[in-house]
């Protein structure tokens, strides 16, 4: 009985091996098995926005009782801090674009629906036109990459200017997905864009 059983096992193994060698359709590479947990909203709140604030704050003119002073990264450690924040934004964009990433946790509603879209509406916009979402996200990626270049060149003026343009990239995307019906915010942004163009600020 034992022998018969062993023979059956050997036979089964041979069948399995043969099946494994049989010609089949080439496997489609679906990429890594990403397991996104955080939502777009959480990545924005926990990673991108705080880092944008840190970059924004890294260069400043400060007034105290003794006069006016400039503050900017000076030591290698200080440059490294702002560089790390910039990397968080750059790679945060990739996280935003990761397939399966949801806008918000289930059940979350807009607190101010008269101004902002509900998360499911934002999700529909994104899912309905991934190319446009990618374009906006890459707008932020490009701006943050310019910030990184300024940091690596130890270019304080470049850091200041690119930090401001990060904000523009954020607002451009928010106007499309977050509060597209806020005509006033849109008009104001467009007016600012016009003034920036007049001033030669790209």
């Amino acid at each position: 009985m034992k022998i018969a059983m062993r023979g059956l096992l050997i036979l089964s193994g041979a069948v399995l091996l043969l099946a494994g060698c049989a010609p089949s359709e080439p496997a489609v590479d679906t990429g890594p098995d990403f397991r996104p947990v955080a939502t777009i909203r959480e990545i924005m709140n926990y990673q991108i926005d705080p880092s944008a604030d840190a970059i924004w704050a890294s260069v400043a003119t400060v007034v105290d009782l003794d006069g006016v002073h400039e503050e900017y990264p000076e030591t290698e450690d200080e440059w490294d801090v702002v560089r790390a924040h910039t990397m968080r934004i750059i790679e945060g964009v990739n996280l935003l674009l990761m397939p399966g990433r949801q806008v918000a946790q289930p059940g979350i509603r807009s607190e101010f629906p008269e101004i902002e879209l509900h998360p499911e509406q934002v999700q529909e916009l994104i899912d309905g036109d991934r190319a446009t979402f990618t374009e906006y996200a890459m707008g932020l990626h490009e701006r943050a990459s310019a910030t990184l270049a300024a940091i690596d060149a130890r270019d304080v003026d470049g850091l200041l200017a690119s930090g401001e343009m990060l904000d523009v990239a954020c607002e451009r995307c928010h106007l499309h997905y977050w509060y597209p019906n806020d005509t006033t915010a849109r008009e104001q942004f467009e007016e600012s864009e016009r003034l920036r163009q007049e001033a030669g600020i790209e």
């Binding site: 003119t61 009782l65 401001e164 915010a185 104001q188």
Partner: protein, 271 residues
């Protein structure tokens, strides 16, 4: 470096608006009516100091002076150029944040003080606490309001702001004020220390609102002084709050017909 600002151009904008004193209302049955949220356009709106109540003989008062010891940190110059409209609205002047409004003598402004204790109910004042958005900053920077009192926020700029109160106590609001002259009125319904008001369009705009269930509070003026009037006699805990230097508490005794003088010192990390 071209970002260095000529000192001659420097204009420190100090919150000169608003009173350091908290006028106490007459004691009546507190039943604040819920204000219907309203946005109006008012060409003749003005930022006016609230009336100061006369001191009552059977009550006491607290005269507080707040100082900062040590080297005061500076205030950042606001990058108005982020919105070219704000450059225009601020008249092209150099405007700083107001986190540390301190004199050479150490007088510290924008400290919110309030009493903690069991008080007889006092109806909220009939006058509003006002905040103006002017030159893309809030004026005043710190205010106190009684629960049920009207908070009145005006857009004095010829551009769009939004008023976004981020509350942990149910005092949230987020409204746009697209054009100059709009006034938004809101009645906070619960105590909060502190309710932060900001503009999502201009990230540097921040104002702090202490919402108190009684009228015994105040905000220190540029000379560091704040007075709390018409306080029932008793021993209380006095809380003081500053956006950078944090919270402090002290015990204060109030006697009828007397004014208790109190000195509060904050310590700067640069001391």
């Amino acid at each position: 470096m071209n970002r260095l600002l000529p000192a001659g151009l420097l204009l420190l904008i100090v919150a000169a608006c608003g009173s350091s004193e908290s006028p106490s209302g007459t004691r009546v049955d507190p039943a604040p009516a819920q204000l219907e949220v309203a946005m109006t356009r008012e060409a003749d709106w003005t930022l006016a100091p609230p009336p100061v109540a006369a001191q009552q003989a059977d009550l006491g008062s607290i005269r507080i002076h707040i100082r900062l010891d040590g080297t005061a940190p500076g205030n950042r110059v606001i990058r108005m150029g982020m919105d070219p409209g704000c450059d225009v609205a601020s008249g092209g002047q150099i405007v700083t944040e107001e986190g540390v409004a301190v004199t050479r003598e150490g007088d510290l402004a924008n400290v919110f003080v309030r009493l903690e204790g069991d008080f007889p109910p006092v109806a909220p004042p009939s006058w509003p606490v006002q905040i103006d958005q002017s030159g893309c900053v809030y004026r005043p920077h710190v205010v106190g309001v009684q629960v049920g009192q009207v908070l009145e926020m005006h857009n004095g700029d010829d551009l769009s702001h939004n008023l976004h109160a981020s509350s942990r106590q149910g005092n949230d609001f987020n409204v746009g004020q697209a054009v100059e002259g709009l006034v938004y009125r809101y009645q906070p319904q619960s105590e909060e220390f502190m309710l932060q008001l900001g503009c999502d369009i201009h990230r540097w705009m921040r104002s702090y609102i202490g919402v108190v269930g009684h009228p015994y509070f105040g905000v220190s003026a540029p000379d560091g002084s704040a007075t709390i009037r018409n306080v029932p006699p008793g021993t209380y805990t006095l809380h003081s709050w500053h956006e950078i230097f944090g919270d402090q508490t002290t015990t204060v005794e109030v006697r009828a017909g007397e004014s208790t003088v109190l000195e509060i010192a904050y310590q700067s990390a640069g001391a």
